[in-house]
């Protein structure tokens, strides 16, 4: 198949890639740009493991053609932290034990990050709805929901918010 050269804006950097018209964004991210944080679990848009941001909105990169990403701003899990400095959401996932096997974590973080940008203090029902497209087989979701609710909003009554509280001090 004929290859096309395009420039993608990934995590704030321009990246020139040579793609086929049927390459998915996930394939280009993982295979060409070595951004393997985004995962393929189902390959059919059911599980959310490949969720990335396109112009700030969470999208499934396994169902998005790389061509569609041209001219948009793409952010992947690798673009969340500022160098070694984690976002409140990432730290909250660690502190609340929201990560078990970690395979769904990147997609889960991207969905939750988009939610928090929209609504910094979402209630539990809103969080559950925002994460309904991300399947986690390990956690039963309880700690993920808690981590999202407490990200940037540490609670005094939560034993697992201590680390965030300390950072704020």
């Amino acid at each position: 198949m004929e290859k096309i050269k395009i420039i993608l804006d990934i995590n704030g950097l321009p990246q020139e890639v040579e793609i086929s018209s049927n390459d998915t964004l996930l394939e280009v991210l993982r295979d060409q740009l070595d951004l393997t944080g985004s995962k393929e679990s189902c390959g059919e848009g059911a599980c959310g493991s490949c969720t990335i941001h396109m112009d700030g909105k969470p999208v499934r990169s396994c169902l998005t053609l790389a061509l569609e990403a041209e001219g948009t701003k793409i952010k992947t899990v690798e673009g969340l932290a500022d160098g070694d400095r984690l976002t409140d959401l990432q730290q909250s996932f660690i502190d609340h034990g929201a990560v078990q096997c970690g395979f769904c974590t990147p997609g889960m973080l991207m969905s939750a990050d988009a939610l928090l940008k929209d609504n910094p203090k979402p209630d539990k029902a809103r969080i559950k709805k925002a994460l309904a497209g991300n399947i986690c087989r390990c956690t039963g979701y309880t700690k993920i929901i808690q981590a999202v609710a407490h990200a940037g909003n540490p609670r005094n009554d939560c034993p697992d918010c201590q680390h965030q509280n300390k950072q704020k001090e």
């Binding site: 390959g43 059919e44 078990q100 970690g102 395979f103 990147p106 309904a132 929901i145």
Partner: protein, 761 residues
């Protein structure tokens, strides 16, 4: 104040930082120079004889680097036990299920590899196939495996004696049959393997596994190369739940392709392949006949279970036994007879799964509720009269040490408000309880023990080496936590080298719930030896007796006078200057009855500890749609000692999701002529965030004397009891005792309608 600095604390996991940054590498993320794409050619028939395989067209396709068939193999058959070796990694004579491996290809890219698969021409002679265990046993057509009459793969018979006599003494006897179809693991990570032969002709393999040493041995057998030539490497693993314990034929096919091409090869399963080409949970038909006295105490029980094992043995003898074992551990029975049959069918292979025997267990507790109902006894009371007490022996003669079964029931009853709710909820609301017990390990012969090595660096930090693997449950953190606790270091001072067959010693693997008990204990023993060496040096420096010392926060200090101290770094350096290493090894082997064997002799000490769990669930059923809304769940387990409550709660919550929410409400496979109709995530209904109830976790600590810090199995008693509690709650809500699981809306509506029509009559 706690006597420990880290044990018992809510410690965030050491592996989670890399995971939230997208840095953690899983097998599919690996890139090696010259990496080829491997694919497996699978059988389209459920049962057929292979007449010929022509690979010439595929091999000559540009971009194809190798094609392998059974002719390229040493012809060795795989089986977990000597008497279950029935599976070739690539079939040569027959295929036995839709998906059975017949060939493999390696090519420069996926597109070429897929084209090559289509060009492999296999001529088959189709044979009559059997898809259900009862049908398979009665079948007079060609057996699936020649040596197994009636397609019976495994028969486990346990009889404690006096069963018939005790049935005669019983005041009330019930016999009920319960069924549940197959379920699947649906690990987040689809199965992927990368294989490479290095410059010394050593086979390197990266893949999800439930124990690296359980992968290296069959590969060494299959290639007829020594164990030291097989290096299973550590890599992040995206979940296992029992489904990644054994060798996978793709491991071998990938390695064979790597050998033939002299290049690294990756085989990455599609989601459909992950479902049909790895393992599944067994479908089961279970009949429990239970005789009780007037007070509801079980005098006699006879259980017969037919398990659909699929095409090959897998962990058959274990799988046929475990549902019974969980029953005999949690419930006392004066006498019991068990006949478990694992039947070959022309369906994918079945192995162990986290809630292995969901229909068996949920049936048992449903029947207990029926008996309680008949006798006018409260469901809690009948359980309290029958559950295990510490110091007793199970029916098959395992001594039960620590056991706080009663306490888990009392705690869960109180937390859930059972007494205020049971029998007093509005129509179509219900509450149910499940109680279960899981073994901390199986007798595993020479693979039963784990060994650890610890070596100190001159900067006072340490390497900890252990064969324990982390499938996602937090084993890496557990090992670091134990080592840091014993050595007086901070978690960041420990570098863990684990789950690698080149650098770590044999270990039973993580699939028998034994990682903390055996592997963690080995690290604890090694760390204690290192600490003793450090204390001997520090005692000389501080001019005190070693017994007066303690270590914490990188310092060794006098307990009564913490100011008097020396850094661990200094102690290490002084030791080295005095010609003494600060390394140590530790090993732990559980004292089980080595004569116990799953089929030939299923009696004797099974393992050193058992966990006990209670789950209570409250539900609301919509009688129009049959939909179940779960209002809340209470999970309470006796874990011996909670090493890390943060991680433990995660296990409880995940167990409720898989065992209860998915296992009892939505998860099952649909079939047509041996073909799985719902193998993908769109079709198989996994619990989502919006489905889950609030879960209350209560931890009970009985302090197991043989476990590290008192710990034993943690989490699986919840997965099993959650299945039972979900079933109980739905039955309670609709006023019908259900015998077919999971409890999907169609079954619920049918049961409600039937009840209504009966009451109208």
């Amino acid at each position: 104040m706690s006597e420990y600095s880290l044990i018992g604390k809510r410690m965030p996991r050491v592996d989670s930082r890399a995971k939230v940054m997208g840095k953690a590498k899983f097998t599919a993320d690996l890139k090696l120079p010259g990496l080829l794409v491997g694919k497996v050619k699978r059988s389209p028939y459920a049962h057929a004889r292979i007449l010929s395989i022509d690979t010439s067209k595929a091999a000559s396709l540009p971009g194809v680097k190798a094609v392998v068939t059974g002719d390229d193999t040493e012809g060795i058959k795989w089986g977990v036990f000597g008497y279950t070796r029935d599976q070739q990694f690539i079939q040569t004579e027959k295929v036995r299920y839709i998906g059975d491996e017949v060939a493999g290809v390696a090519a420069v890219d996926e597109e070429t590899a897929l084209k090559a698969l289509d060009l492999i021409q296999v001529e088959y002679e189709e044979l009559p196939a059997v898809y259900e265990p009862m049908e398979a046993m009665a079948s007079e057509t060609e057996r699936i495996h020649e040596d197994f009459p009636n397609n019976i793969n495994i028969h486990v018979n346990i009889d404690t004696g006096n069963v018939d006599e005790n049935f005669e003494k019983a005041y009330y006897i019930r016999e009920d049959t319960f069924t549940a179809p197959e379920e699947s693991y649906f690990q987040a990570e689809p199965y992927t393997v990368v294989a490479n032969f290095d410059h010394e002709d050593c086979l390197e393999v990266w893949c999800p596994n439930g124990g690296p040493h359980m992968k290296s041995k069959p590969l060494s057998n299959a290639f007829k190369i020594p164990l030291h030539k097989v290096k299973i490497k550590k890599i992040s693993i995206g979940g296992a739940f029992g489904g990644r314990s054994e060798i996978c034929p793709a491991d071998y096919i990938c390695a064979l392709l790597a050998k033939k091409t002299n290049k690294p090869v990756r085989i990455q399963f599609t989601r459909e392949e992950n479902t049909i080409g790895t393992r599944q949970g067994h479908a089961m038909i279970t009949t429990h006949k239970t005789g009780v006295d007037k007070e509801g105490r079980v005098l006699a029980r006879e259980t017969t279970c037919y398990m659909d094992g699929g095409a090959y043995s897998s962990t058959g003898p274990i799988a046929t036994s475990v549902p019974f074992l969980s029953m005999e551990q949690v419930y006392r029975m004066d006498s019991v007879r068990y006949n478990g049959y694992r039947i070959y069918t022309n369906k994918p292979i079945r192995g162990m799964i986290r809630t292995h025997g969901r229909g068996f267990a949920a049936g048992l507790d449903t029947q207990l509720d029926m008996i309680a109902d008949h006798l006018g006894i409260d469901p809690i009371e009948i359980r309290l009269r029958n559950v295990r007490k510490p110091g007793e022996y199970t029916s098959t003669k395992s001594l039960v040490g620590s056991c706080a079964m009663d306490e888990t029931i009392h705690t869960a009853v109180k937390r859930s408000g059972w007494k205020e709710k049971y029998g007093q909820l509005p129509p179509f609301h219900g509450i149910g309880i499940g109680t279960n017990s899981v073994q901390t390990g199986f007798p595993m012969g020479i693979r039963g023990g784990s060994q650890s090595f610890i070596k100190f660096n001159e900067d006072g930090e340490a390497f900890v080496m252990s064969g324990v693997v982390d499938n996602g449950q937090g084993n890496d953190n557990m090992l670091v936590q134990i080592a840091a606790e014993e050595l007086g270091l901070l978690p960041e001072d420990i570098h863990l080298v684990s789950a690698d067959t080149e650098t770590t010693s044999s270990d039973p693997g993580s699939y028998s719930q034994v990682s903390t008990f055996v592997g963690g204990q080995a690290v604890q023993i090694a760390a204690k030896k290192c600490r003793k060496k450090l204390f001997d040096v520090a005692a000389k420096i501080l001019k005190v007796e070693p017994e007066t010392l303690n270590a914490e926060n990188r310092m060794i200090f006098v307990k009564d006078n913490p100011e008097k101290s020396v850094s661990i770094k200094k102690a290490v350096r002084v030791s080295l200057l005095n010609f003494t290493s600060v390394n140590a090894e530790g090993g732990y082997w559980p004292k089980v009855d080595m004569k116990r064997e799953w089929v030939k002799n299923p009696y004797g000490q099974m393992c050193e500890a058992f966990s006990f769990g209670t789950t209570i669930v409250e539900v609301k059923v919509d009688p129009e749609t049959g939909q179940v809304e779960v209002l809340n769940a209470t999970a309470c387990q006796d874990v011996g000692k909670a090493l890390n409550p943060l991680v433990l709660e995660g296990q409880f919550e995940g167990s409720v999701a898989m065992g209860g929410q998915g296992g009892m409400l939505t998860e099952y496979h649909d079939w047509k002529d041996g073909r799985c109709l719902n193998s993908t995530m769109l079709d198989y209904k996994l619990p989502l965030a919006c489905d889950m109830p609030d879960i209350h976790c209560d931890i009970v600590e009985s302090i197991e004397p043989k476990g590290p810090y008192g710990a034993k199995e943690a989490g699986m008693s919840i997965a099993m009891s959650a299945a039972q509690a979900y079933a109980g709650a739905v039955c309670n809500a609709i006023g019908v005792y259900m015998d077919s699981f999971p409890l999907t809306p169609d079954k619920i509506i049918a049961a409600i309608k039937e009840k209504q029509s009966c009451s109208e009559k």
